[in-house]
């Protein structure tokens, strides 16, 4: 029928409407899948090069110590502030809920477990991912587009060892330490917020909060942040060192470093929480 209609239209000399081109969904999807696997492939090759460079001498101790300072000392104020804020928020929220359900005596333990097992590690990871991830991504990207990384390589220095391995190791070492700092600040401000409303000595708070607690309850959640450090370091260095395209590329590398590191950090947390529950019951 429609064919007949078209024939008639053509016969009448009227313009036959052109068929709309089929959407290129198939091609687009195929490219998306290819890019996805290509990205992981390049990430794997990058991680292998860094791992090999990290375990073969000469070791870049001076740069490593400088990075410990960059990642650790310089992130400390922000992490401490974030931890302190989390402590106050948890204190206010849980106090209200526990009072409502008549379980006010559980307040210290709830605060301690919430801060140390859940919020402290995640908040530290996300804060460091934002500050350090963006910093490393932008710094290395800027070095890449201005040929400084090529200049390092041309000077017979392995950039994977000097730039990537040192930063990644610094993130791995400093994340658990920063988490301990965030936890301490969170507990302190959480207790302080509670003490303002209802008298409670710090000694009493700690004793009640850690009553019956074992190392297994607190050490794995704290030290799992070393994995967060690995993720932040690897993603930020990878994004930075593969940058192309001038200032826009630098901006994109910084953004992608933070977004991807935060995303993978949260996904890793899901796996790590289950892993810790199974291995350290």
């Amino acid at each position: 029928m429609s064919s007949l209609g078209s024939d008639v239209t053509a016969a009448l000399g009227a313009e036959v409407p052109k068929r709309r081109p089929a959407p290129q969904f198939a091609g687009f999807s195929a490219k998306l899948v290819t890019d996805f696997f290509e990205w992981f492939g390049h990430l794997g090759i990058f991680a292998w090069k860094v791992a090999r460079a990290a375990v073969t001498p000469p070791f870049e101790w001076r740069e490593f110590i400088r990075q410990l300072d960059e990642v650790g000392s310089k992130s400390f104020p922000l992490v401490a502030l974030a931890g302190a804020a989390v402590g106050i928020i948890i204190s206010l929220e849980t106090r209200y809920s526990l009072t409502r359900f008549g379980a006010k005596s559980l307040f210290p333990a709830t605060l301690v477990y919430s801060v140390i097992q859940v919020m402290g590690p995640v908040i530290t990871g996300l804060v460091v991912s934002g500050r350090v991830g963006a910093g490393i991504g932008a710094e290395l990207a800027s070095m890449k587009v201005t040929e400084q990384i090529d200049a390092i390589e041309a000077s017979a220095i392995n950039p994977y060892r000097l730039l990537a391995a040192t930063r990644i190791l610094a993130c791995i070492v400093m994340l658990p330490l920063l988490t301990i700092a965030a936890d301490a600040c969170g507990l302190l401000t959480g207790w302080f917020a509670q003490a303002l409303v209802e008298p409670l000595s710090f000694h009493q708070f700690i004793e009640s909060g850690f009553h019956g607690a074992t190392f297994n309850a607190f050490l794995p959640p704290t030290f799992k942040t070393a994995v967060y450090g690995l993720i932040i370091g690897v993603i930020a260095c990878f994004q930075g060192m593969r940058t192309r395209g001038g200032a826009e590329g630098v901006g994109r590398a910084a953004t992608n470093s933070v977004v991807l590191a935060s995303l993978f950090l949260i996904l890793a947390d899901v796996v790590l929480v289950k892993f810790i529950l199974v291995v350290f019951p």
Partner: protein
Amino acid sequence: MNDARDKMATAHDNTMKQREAEADGNAPVVSVESVHKSFGTHKVLNGINLSVNRGETLAVLGRSGTGKSVLLRLIIGLTQPDSGSIRVGGDDLAGLTLDQLGAIRKKMGFLFQHAALYDSLTVAENVAFPLDHHRRDMSKSDKDDLVRRLLAEVGIEDALERMPSDISGGMQKRVGLARALALEPEILLLDEPTAGLDPISSREIDELILKLQRERQMASIVVTHDLFSARSIASHLALLDQGNVVVQGQFEDLQQSDIGFVKEFLKQS
């Protein structure tokens, strides 16, 4: 299987020939043989052959985008060729790991087109950077003396503590040159050493390169499209067009060439 064996045998023969020639003292320090390089569908180098001996300076000329800088990146191993062979001091760069390449790169100094100075380090720290990593046995005072001497050699000894962003383009090139000379290389690769500089600074850089060549007897490859500069510093020239060496030889050989592109290039330069 036989093909692979033949290739290995040929590579071994070439290495042996190179070693024998080296023993005779007339081997090319850098040789580029049938090198092809493409980026995607864009063919940049199309089987080019070049060689430089000790004490010689080769100027590679050509229009923008003809692969001159790519050629230098291939020689120092920052980019890999699609096919062909690149030998530096008799060693084939193909298939080397980053650390093996590092040993060869120590023999080379590279001046990048935009100097590529480390922007978070001072001028002195930039020049000391290769020394800090490869001359760990050197005392700090010896390193400081060497850095001062290198900066004096390139004429900017008073800029020691300044940051790269605080100095002019010409001074940045001089710092880049001092950094390239820090490990006393046998081969110097210069990517557009006078690009973006005023005529006076360009001639100063040319004179500096000539002085260094006289004093250090290095093999140099200079990529440029400044014909005046190339003529004054190079012992021979190669003109690139569409990924091929169109003409190679003395400046007079270029002048006598009947090739249209060569005539046009000389006329416009």
